[in-house]
């Protein structure tokens, strides 16, 4: 079947290069002055500075959470650079004015920003360290009234939208990392789909960390007005450094009446070497608000990178008949640690949610699913179905499942299923005895295990995700 798997599995992390580019960097450390400096560098409206300061002051009073099933040395927040931007002209009129080094970098990552080679049906916002360097297809999208731009631009051009929705789903003091993000975030993507509009193409943001000492704090905000729909995909990579980089992003989604948002992630941050040295700390808050009736938010994530993943894309189902979905494949290898899952909070009547979580642990990694299903007192007829499957590869990996179920309405129906399976010597021998090589056997078993989730991804990314998993499992068995 996949003859390319053999050659693929022998490749090292191919996105581990560093781009040599002059950057505008502020000194290490965090203080109220730094927050003000970031805001002024970005020429933000006054309300944004207030937003940031409020978040910073809350953050000071908070403590880093320690309940997740992950371990790492204490992070020195004063040793992180909170703003790093490639030096280029302030205002870009066209792609031709983007630094060619940056275009080359994204080209190398397989993301073509140039007019001729773009994916024809995908608009891309490319984010390098802290800033958005280019957004493609903007004019075309604008014809339909769709706004797709960096969040910095949105603050300046559409302040009323940003002010109305920013922090409305994830409040500034929501949690430690969200508060930190709210204080210092430097860029991210903004999407606005007007009433009754079906976004004509896939939207996508590509995040690239380049600087080894800077943290990456992006903020994504997607608003789907009544009757609209959008499919959004994010991808990410980082160079290989011996040190750990902190990535604390916040994503907020708002779906109004009958609106639908599909948010997919293929996360491939650098995971550290096989002994656990280096890699990204991925501490991310993602939440969607199904505010309107019949609205729907669907999260699909394929998590393969990062030294540590701490992430729970959630849905708050306020509108009656609204639907939340979470489809996840989390793969950990070597010394990676992942504590990931979702929260489905049912508030409105007849709200429905589905959780399909697939955890794959190889090497000496630890992979935990943590999920909350909460049915509020007014959520008559709410339904949830959860399925959490773990697959262990080899004998030294760990998998945990922590489901939390809180039901306050007796008409609700909640189902939870879980399973554990294994790819070990015996499974591979069974395939080998039928003439099938280990590479093909693993690839078949992993594809089969992840099928329910990959089916949710846009076609071209599903193939990519499948290949990515084979690549990540290099030498993990036998």
């Amino acid at each position: 079947m996949t003859t390319t798997v053999t050659s693929l599995v022998n490749q090292p992390y191919k996105y581990g290069f560093v781009t040599d580019i002059e950057s505008d960097v502020i000194p290490r450390g965090l203080s109220e002055d730094v927050v003000r400096l970031i805001s002024s560098k970005k020429n933000e409206p006054e309300f944004m500075l207030e937003f940031r300061l409020k978040a910073y002051r809350q953050w000071l009073k908070m403590a880093e959470p320690n309940w997740a099933e992950v371990g790492y040395p204490a992070i020195d927040y004063q040793n992180i650079i909170y703003y790093s931007a490639p030096k280029q002209k302030e205002k870009l009129n066209s792609l031709e004015e983007v630094d060619p080094t940056l275009l080359e970098t994204f080209e190398k990552l397989g993301i073509s920003l140039s007019e001729q080679k773009r994916l024809s049906n995908v608009a891309v916002d490319a984010i390098f360290d802290s800033v958005s360097v280019a957004t493609t297809f903007r004019e075309k999208l604008a014809k339909d009234g769709v706004i797709f731009c960096s969040i910095s631009e949105a603050m300046r051009e559409y302040p009323e939208l940003v002010q109305k929705y920013l922090g409305s789903v994830v409040p500034v003091g929501d949690n430690y990392f969200a508060a930190l993000n709210s204080a210092v975030f430097s860029d991210g993507s903004f999407v606005y789909i007007p009433k009754g509009t079906k976004c004509p193409m896939e939207l996508s943001t590509y995040f690239r960390i380049n600087n080894g000492d800077s943290g990456q704090f992006e903020r994504t905000l997607i608003v789907a007005e009544a009757g609209s729909s959008v499919s959004y995909l994010e991808g990410c990579t980082a160079p290989m450094f011996d040190t750990n980089q902190l990535h604390a992003a916040v994503v907020e989604l708002v779906a109004l009446d009958d609106a639908e948002i599909k948010y997919s992630t293929v996360q491939n941050w650098y995971a550290g070497d096989k002994d656990g040295k280096g890699g990204i700390y991925n501490f991310v808050t993602k939440r969607g608000l199904c505010q309107g009736v019949n609205s729907k938010i669907s999260w699909t994530q394929v998590e393969t990178g990062s030294a540590i993943t701490w992430k729970y894309p959630s849905c708050v189902l306020v509108g009656d008949n609204s639907v939340g979905e979470f489809y996840s494949v989390a793969l950990t290898n070597n010394c990676q640690q992942a504590d990931t899952g979702t929260k489905m909070v049912h508030i409105g009547k007849n709200t429905r949610s589905t959780i399909i979580s697939k955890g794959i642990s190889a090497g000496r990694s630890e992979n935990s699913y943590r999920g909350l299903v909460k049915i509020g007192p007014k959520a008559d007829g709410a339904r949830n179905y959860s399925q959490c499957d773990s697959m262990l590869i080899g004998d030294n990996a760990g998998a945990n499942t922590f489901p939390y179920i809180q039901v306050q309405n007796h008409t609700a129906k909640v189902e939870h299923e879980a399973s554990t399976s294994k790819i070990g010597e015996d499974q591979l021998f069974f395939f080998a005895q039928r003439g099938v090589s280990s590479e093909d056997a693993i690839s078949m078993m992993i594809s089969g295990f992840c099928k329910d989730v990959f089916n949710q991804l846009p076609m071209e990314f599903a193939v990519e995700a499948d290949r990515l998993l084979s690549l990540k499992l290099e030498g993990s068995v036998g």
Binding site: F429, A432, Q433, R434, G435, M444, G448, F449, G478
Partner: protein
């Protein structure tokens, strides 16, 4: 048709093997010719199953000595998948369940691995579908088994029938059936044995590992070997099975011990 001049398919000489440093096989000798059916019987722990896994190349067993020639080739030098592709088939005592992988896909990939090895073109999904449907009749399996995950939720009998289906598809030169009769009711046993008999021909050979004479009423062997303590201590015709059924293994073991002593 060109017939191998020696018509010996498998020749095992003085084979010794360990599991975790513990010697299990202590000098196995066996010669199997085309068209023959051999049965290996013996008490638990005598090395029967280990022998089958060592031939198939299970990584948990270390060969410490001896040689195995399969169709003129040094079998021990081959990887497990190469052994399979060149015609060794092991029907497992406990076939594994592989969730998420459809039986049909599994069978097609296995079949194409062998085709590729033979330098033949791989068969596409449509042609394969036709091919496999023809084979289903051999083990009286319903086509609905094809769309299910490999062995997942199959009954004991269905798993064993699925093993024989794989054998029918892969047309091995040497099929080793490791306690294929264990856990089968009489109807399933008849179906499985009937399948094996249909597949037996003058070009291939079958080695049946079993505890019971029952299976040998359906699959009639040319030779019966009795194993004890990691070697074959007695070889006889099919009537030996009846004698074993009646008298147990002790008399063979004793006879062998006396033989060694004298």
């Amino acid at each position: 048709m060109i017939i191998d001049h020696s018509n010996v398919i498998l020749s095992v000489k003085n084979l010794t093997a360990n599991v975790d440093e513990t010697p299990i096989l202590k000098g196995m000798n066996l010669e199997v010719k085309a068209g023959e059916i051999h049965a290996i019987m013996g008490p638990n722990g005598s090395g029967k199953s280990t022998f089958s896994k060592v031939l198939a190349g299970h990584p948990a067993y270390q060969v410490t000595g001896g040689e195995v020639i399969f169709q003129g080739q040094d079998l021990l030098a081959l990887e497990p998948e190469e052994r399979a592709r060149s015609g060794i088939f092991l029907a497992f005592q406990y076939p594994l369940e592989i969730p998420g992988v459809s039986n049909l896909d599994f069978l097609r990939v296995a079949y194409n691995s062998k085709r590729k090895h033979q330098g033949l073109e791989e068969v596409d999904a449509f042609d394969f579908d036709e091919l496999i449907r023809e084979k289903l009749g051999i083990v009286k399996m319903d086509a609905s088994f094809l769309s299910r995950s490999v062995n997942e939720g199959f009954s004991g009998g269905e798993k064993k029938r699925n093993e024989i289906l794989q054998m029918a598809l892969l047309e091995p030169k040497l099929a080793i059936l490791d306690e294929t009769d264990s856990g089968l009711d009489i109807d399933a046993l008849r179906i499985v044995a009937g399948g094996v008999n249909q597949l037996s021909n003058p070009e291939n050979a079958i080695v049946v590992i079993t505890h019971y004479q029952r299976l040998l009423e359906y699959i009639v062997p040319d030779y019966i070997h009795v194993t004890a303590n990691g070697r074959i201590i007695r070889t006889g015709g099919k009537e030996l099975a009846l004698e074993l059924e009646e008298r147990g293994y002790d008399w063979v073991l004793e006879a062998a011990a006396t033989g060694v002593a004298s």
